[in-house]
Symmetry: C2
Subunit: 322 residues, 2 copies
């Protein structure tokens, strides 16, 4: 198996200097802009990692790995319109820099380009790769719809939330790993295991993102702290706080979330999160998900050293400290 550093170099190489330009320029320039911004390239990395774990040839999965990243970026273009998010990776989002129509149509085109890459796969694994990709693409749309529904729903609970982030975030991470394993011609049983592993890692990763939005360091997080609080987003933290609050604290949460002054609002909510132990409850949940993922990883019949390498990377990703 390749080391994580080798895989990260490989991912870098895959995207470095890749051009997405074409005509008309107005259509392709936002695509080039979006895909040149970098980001973690987590999905292609996990895709290559899984292929490597199962002893596959990375060349067999490179195009799918690129396609998965382009698909992910396509969803960001459209999500940013729907959520009216002006900033993405510290830069103006596409709909903000250009306009809504541009973000719709350049996004659609990115979706086709993603399929072009995924289609450019060895024919003997094409059907399985496409079935995994199609199912995931549909579920990601379903997740975004649930996310939008949550805004107007009153009775959202943690289990609804976990299902929403499973669809919106975790399935694509899981599919990236499954597609890597398909390219390595892994057994059906192993495909299912690495997929389930990816789901748990994806959930932990999203909770880590929720956590950092409230308790992170702006320099590391790359986004403003407290954005979820300012937009009253029903995150794990928000739902856990309401779940654990007594009547009086619920009222205090209501008051905090309706505060007009942004600075005061974030402070008030964070103080209540602190008093309710939300920071450690969230970390516990992340550790629980990671532990469940490890049980599955242990059950995969591959060399211990290689599984340990993957696990080390993931510990780092979700910043597990215990």
């Amino acid at each position: 198996m390749h080391t994580i550093d080798e895989l990260q170099d490989k991912v870098k190489e895959l995207f470095e200097n890749r051009s997405y330009m074409g005509t008309p320029n107005e259509l392709y320039e936002p695509i080039q802009y979006s895909l040149s911004q970098g980001g973690k390239r987590l999905r292609p990395l996990l895709c290559l990692m899984s292929c490597s774990l199962f002893g596959g040839d990375l060349k067999e999965v490179e195009n799918s790995a690129i396609g998965l990243e382009i698909f992910h970026n396509f969803t960001l273009l459209h999500d940013d319109i729907m959520d009216q998010s002006p900033i993405r990776r510290g830069m103006p989002s596409v709909f903000n820099k250009w306009d809504t129509n541009t973000a719709i149509l350049s996004g659609d085109t990115m979706f086709v380009i993603a399929y072009e890459y995924v289609t450019n796969t060895n024919p003997d694994i094409l059907v399985d790769t496409l079935l995994a990709f199609n199912q995931t693409a549909k579920e990601v749309c379903e997740g975004q719809q649930y996310d939008m529904n949550f805004e107007s729903e009153q009775n959202t609970d943690i289990s609804d939330y976990m299902e929403m982030i499973r669809l919106k975030t975790a399935v694509l991470i899981a599919a990236a790993m499954k597609i890597g394993a398909i390219a390595a011609r892994a057994q059906k049983e192993d495909l299912d295991k690495i997929y389930d592993f990816g789901i748990l890692i994806g959930l932990a990763f999203q909770l880590r993102d929720d956590y950092l939005d409230a308790f992170g360091n702006v320099d590391i997080f790359g986004k403003a702290i407290g954005n979820d609080i300012l937009t009253n987003k029903k995150t794990f933290l928000y739902l856990k706080a309401y779940e654990n609050a007594d009547l009086k604290t619920k009222e205090a949460l209501d008051n905090a979330f309706t505060t007009n002054d942004p600075k005061l609002k974030v402070e008030s909510v964070l103080k209540l999160y602190h008093s309710l132990g939300i920071e450690s409850l969230t970390r516990s949940k992340i550790i629980e998900l990671h532990d469940q993922a490890l049980i599955i990883l242990n059950d995969i019949n591959r060399p211990e050293s290689e599984k340990a390498e993957i696990n080390n990377f993931l510990r780092h990703l979700i910043k597990r400290e215990v």
Copy 2:
């Protein structure tokens, strides 16, 4: 070969009572709404027709035919947002009935469903089918971008327009026919011929649509007459009028197109179109395209009676009277 009536029955059967529902309901209801409205189902019909012409088994191409229609409807959902068109097939468009976010996300989901159908194709023809589909999907996006660019461009001419409608409309019709021929395992040479035939028919079909918008009968056309005139859309008619007008008539066209009163505007423009012979010039161009298409069809080595059946249908489609 099947008769056109048999093929039309087959298309009807493919879409009748087909459910696209799923959860969450908010995502799938607009998809069901869009795909239940009917429309001409021209692309699946031409796809089956081409498969039949080359002696193929229709079962081999049914899923792609369905996928092509779903893809077409996906583009309508997004185009209607971009063009702010409130009405589609005499009903409120999805963005108008629901909202922009719904039309974006349900549209994206339809795109995935289209790929699900196309993927569900015999593996030995899957790669060729997908290559044709991917290329076309990208070109349709490019066509829509050119269409939007035209609104703000001053120097659009007829050749720009023909290239725009080639991408926006004709390539999907051509791809439908090519995919039908792929399913019939037609020779590479025949795939190219039926594709080129489809391009010419697609162009003629779009010019017929432009023509009907100005000179049609509202009951037959199913849309309000003069909509292109009211929105100053740079159609073949518009561009031909400016191309053929002397300075004085150009000024009259400018005045007519800036008239505020809608009824008067349509009347003034139509009067100028009449004086410039636009009706017959457009019909001549449609006939020219159809004649070019016939030359290609004649060159395909299939029984004359079968080619005549296709040609009769297309004469009817573009209402060629001479």
